[in-house]
């Protein structure tokens, strides 16, 4: 198994002269000293271009336009999807323009961003889109030149026939080729011949992002549109009375609209609305239960002891295993609520008219947005369009259509176009959250320290799957019981980057560390022993491929010099989620009695890496995200309202708080899987296990800095 080298500075410099096409990007942008050249706009290219399929059009000039259907929120899909199409087409990447496709369920399936699923879902579809277009271009050239198609070769958008010495660019064959019928089945390239996939290709929106062009939903403006901001009810409350007189009196406010438990102030610009919203006098009354964080702690304790559980997995005879155990290890883990807090707060534009609806903005699920609008307005979905902007982060928040629904309600009420914008306070208090959860783990060990029994009981909120029944160490332990208890809360919960596993992984990987300690085993060695059991004598179903688990574990041990330096205290965490495998080791050095978190080493197996820049970004970003929330972030409720209302109290990780992160990728030969989520889950466990190794303090709750075990640990984070 080959290890790819680390992305080096040279990789970046090597491609510094390569530019990529976005909507208005100039080809010579990176070589700014050279004279300016006139650049044809993508619109002009499209006006001439012929469509080959849903993904690509080619103009007579040889310019290629590739449509990227999935919402781009920073996972780099708008660059990596077109790379796959261009690869099979044998296109010249410098002549490729990328266009964000709008919602079109006829042309595209799974047009959403979630579950790290886009690349595995579309890998073959994208390759075929490029390959079928290539097929007809070759056929057209063969016909024009009257030569056998199999003698034709392609490279960087040039079609050649060696025997006759003829050659021409794609554009010369577009008219003929686009009229041909593409075959259903085509031969795809051998992976070893890839020229674009696997190379560091830069983000296609680079210039727009760094020069402040309107790219994001919040940047959208249309002449005549109104702005709206909304006051939402505390969770578990409904509106009793509304006094809108003071809000209406603010200059620039044109309407106040009440719908459901929300009150919208509408006007001509944003600032007056922020002021007017504060002047709304709304009296609420309970509508069922109203919860605070203290209630959740009590409910968790009660349900952990007495709640009715649903059994998710049962292997062997757990009771007998624990009865015969030489040693039993028990630990409980708990996490807080979290908001998604994308840097771009929720917003959406809607224009509801008599027989149609226009929706524009940032959404991870454009089809859900459309269906929601159809339901509210009664207008058939065929008459509803959804235009996708770039998303200023998502983290799962924009899987929900609540803020789209708001825009539709307000547009309908005022009978005109409107953009609803949320403030940061709205995002933190009126949103949808990663729910708090509590887990209890129990392990039964025999006299030799082997795990003979394993129990996991999760108490979750509003979801029936707070545990995962097929995760490691399942498969390696003969007697297993995994069960869930559910508490129904009025607080809206929502998928949050790596749903469930964003905390479950930390709990599982920390508990395994506790078991290794009690068993007197090295945490890496214990994992390898368990993998061997899962491999030679698997118990029940598992989701993970044990060989890939072994490979990333061994590789991360090697790359991190596991256990080699007594002055470096290390914690390991290995996790399979969303089809990818990520192993991480955190290094803490004791410097004059102070523990210093210096480095996290990550080894990832996501199959083939499509774009090393994007892959590195996702792994590092996932680690920073996982670390930040494990260490610092907490959202608590008081009477149905979050107490942390902005970034002054809702603490996000900052630049000085990240250690060095070394990333490695294993080429396991598999097709590519997603990376938006899988690097996040293992991080908390790696850090917590390293903190234990360094200080003897076991952190079983997040955020770490608020735990009493952490209170006298002066952990520093330094890269050098």
């Amino acid at each position: 198994m080959a290890t790819l080298t680390k992305a080096s500075r040279r990789d970046f410099l090597k491609i510094a002269g390569t530019s990529v096409g976005g909507l208005v990007i100039g080809f010579n942008w990176f070589s700014c000293d050279s004279p300016k050249v006139e650049v044809i706009s993508t619109e002009e290219i499209l006006a001439q271009a012929k469509s080959f399929n849903s993904y690509l059009s080619i103009s007579p000039s040889g310019d290629v336009v590739i449509y990227s259907p999935n919402p781009e929120l920073g996972q780099n899909i708008k660059t990596s999807f077109p790379m796959v199409v261009a690869e099979e087409l044998e296109a010249d990447w410098e002549k490729v323009r990328v266009v964000q496709a709008n919602l079109d369920t006829e042309k595209y399936d799974r047009q959403l961003t979630g579950g790290s699923g886009a690349m595995p879902h579309s890998w073959e579809i994208l390759r075929k889109a490029g390959a079928t277009a290539k097929f007809v271009l070759v056929a057209a050239a063969a016909k024009t030149w009257n030569v056998p198609a199999e003698e034709i070769t392609l490279e960087k958008g040039i079609i050649s026939h060696k025997g006759s010495g003829k050659s021409g660019h794609f554009g010369e064959f577009v008219a003929e080729a686009s009229a041909m019928t593409a075959p259903e089945e085509v031969t795809l390239k051998d992976k070893k011949d890839f020229k674009i996939i696997g190379t560091p290709v830069k983000n296609v929106d680079t210039k727009e992002m760094y020069t402040g062009k309107p790219l994001f939903g919040l940047d959208f403006y249309r002449e005549g549109m109104k702005h709206a901001m909304i006051q939402r009810a505390p969770f578990g409350m409904k509106i009793k009375t509304v006094d809108e007189s003071a809000a209406r009196a603010v200059a620039g406010v044109t309407d106040v609209v009440t719908f459901g438990t929300s009150v919208a102030v509408v006007g001509t610009s944003t600032w007056p609305l922020m002021k007017a919203k504060k002047l709304l006098r709304i009296e609420y009354e309970p509508d069922g239960t109203v919860e605070s964080t203290t209630d959740h702690d009590r409910i968790f304790t009660d349900l952990m002891a007495n709640g009715k559980a649903e059994v998710k997995r049962s292997d062997g005879d757990v009771n007998q295993a624990f009865k015969s155990a030489a040693k039993v290890v028990v630990a409980e883990y708990q996490c807080p609520f979290l908001a998604h807090s994308p840097m771009e707060p929720e917003n959406f534009f809607a224009h509801v008219q008599a027989d149609k609806v226009e929706l524009i903005g940032p959404t991870q699920t454009p089809d859900r947005a459309r269906l929601a609008a159809a339901e509210i307005t009664g207008i058939p979905k065929e008459n509803i369009t959804v235009e996708l902007t770039r998303l200023g982060g998502g983290f799962g928040r924009r899987l929900r259509a609540d803020y789209v629904e708001e825009a539709v309600h307000v547009s309908k009420a005022i009978n005109g176009p409107v953009k609803v914008s949320w403030s940061r306070e709205d995002e933190l208090t009126g949103g949808a959250y990663r729910p708090a959860v509590r887990y209890r783990f129990e392990a039964a060990l025999d006299v030799e320290g082997n795990m003979i029994g394993y129990k996991l009981r999760g108490v979750g909120m509003n979801e029936a799957n707070s545990t995962r029944p097929n995760n490691f160490p399942c498969g390696a332990v003969e007697n297993v019981l995994i069960e869930n208890v559910v508490h129904t809360s009025p607080i809206t919960i929502n998928a949050w980057r790596a749903p469930v596993t964003n905390f479950l992984a930390y709990a599982e990987q920390s508990f395994l560390d506790e078991v290794a300690l009690e068993a007197g085993k090295d945490p890496v060695q214990m994992r390898l022993e368990l993998y061997e059991k899962a491999k030679s004598n698997p118990i029940g179903n598992t989701d993970y491929n044990v060989n890939r688990m072994i490979a990333v574990t061994k590789e991360v041990a090697e790359k991190s010099n596991w256990g080699k330096n007594p002055d470096v205290k290390q914690g390991i965490s290995v996790y399979f989620s969303h089809r990818s495998y990520v192993a991480q080791v955190a290094n803490i050095e004791m410097q004059g009695g102070t523990p210093v978190l210096k480095k996290i080493t990550a080894v990832t197996d996501c199959g083939m890496v499509v774009n090393p820049i994007g892959a590195n970004h996702q792994v590092r970003g996932g680690i920073v995200d996982g670390m930040g929330h494990a260490m610092f972030t907490n959202l608590t409720f008081e009477n149905g309202v979050p107490k942390q209302k902005n970034f002054d109290s809702y603490r996000l990780i900052r630049l000085k708080e990240v250690p060095e992160i070394d990333t490695y990728f294993l080429d396991s030969g598999f097709d590519p899987t997603g990376l938006g989520e899988p690097a996040l889950p293992p991080t908390g466990g790696a850090i917590a296990n390293a903190i234990f190794a360094a200080t003897g303090r076991r952190l079983r709750s997040q955020p770490f800095i608020e735990q009493k075990e952490f209170s006298d640990i002066k952990l520093e984070i330094r890269r050098a």
Binding site: F12, L13, G26, W29, F30, C32, L73, G74, Q75, N76, P200, N203, D205, T206, M209, Y210, T211, G212, P214, F216, L218, D219, H227, A251, S269, T270, W271, P272, M274, P342, M343, E344, P345, R390, G392, G393, F395, S421, R424, E425, I613, H617, R620, G621, G622, I623, V624, D625, G628, N646, F647, D648, L652, I653, R654, L655, K656, V658, I661, R719
Partner: protein
């Protein structure tokens, strides 16, 4: 409501707004300069960073009435064709994930390097710590600032 004459990106603009209107919303809603981003509104994240008389300034808490004759530079006016050394470094390092915070990051870095053209990595860390990136592109941000300092 009152008229304010503002100098933005070398041009003068007149807007008729309430005097407590933050510069951020004047730029975004009244002048269509949407490169300056809204995120927290309370000077915590730096997405709204502009230059006011050369200083990196949180435009979300800067009332328009306090700007006076100050020279305002936004991301749109940082360079003519996106060729400011910081923008070029950002492109070369390929810093962004979602990209939403990056204009503010670039404006913070540009003002910082103007003041301290040859910074140490520690000085870079201190300067850039005022901007939040929710995607966690921090490694690349410091790499890009260092590269811009080298090539400036």
């Amino acid at each position: 409501m009152a008229n304010f004459n503002l100098k933005i990106n070398g041009k003068s603009h007149t807007v008729d707004v309430e005097d407590d209107t933050p510069l951020l919303w004047v730029l975004r809603d009244h002048l269509g300069l949407v490169g300056t981003k809204f995120s927290c509104g309370i000077a915590q994240c730096g997405a709204c960073t502009v230059h006011l008389n050369g200083n990196a300034t949180f435009s979300c808490v800067t009332p328009v009435s306090s700007v006076g004759n100050g020279e305002v530079v936004t991301i749109e006016g940082l360079s003519e064709d996106g060729d400011h050394p910081v923008q070029k470094a950002w492109a070369e390092v390929d810093v962004a994930q979602c990209g939403y915070c990056q204009a503010g990051q670039i404006m913070t870095a540009a003002a910082f390097l103007e003041e301290n053209p040859k910074p140490s990595m520690e000085e870079i860390d201190n300067a850039m710590n005022r901007n939040i990136c929710r995607c966690g592109t921090y490694h690349k941000i410091r790499e890009a600032v260092a590269l811009a300092a080298k090539t400036n």
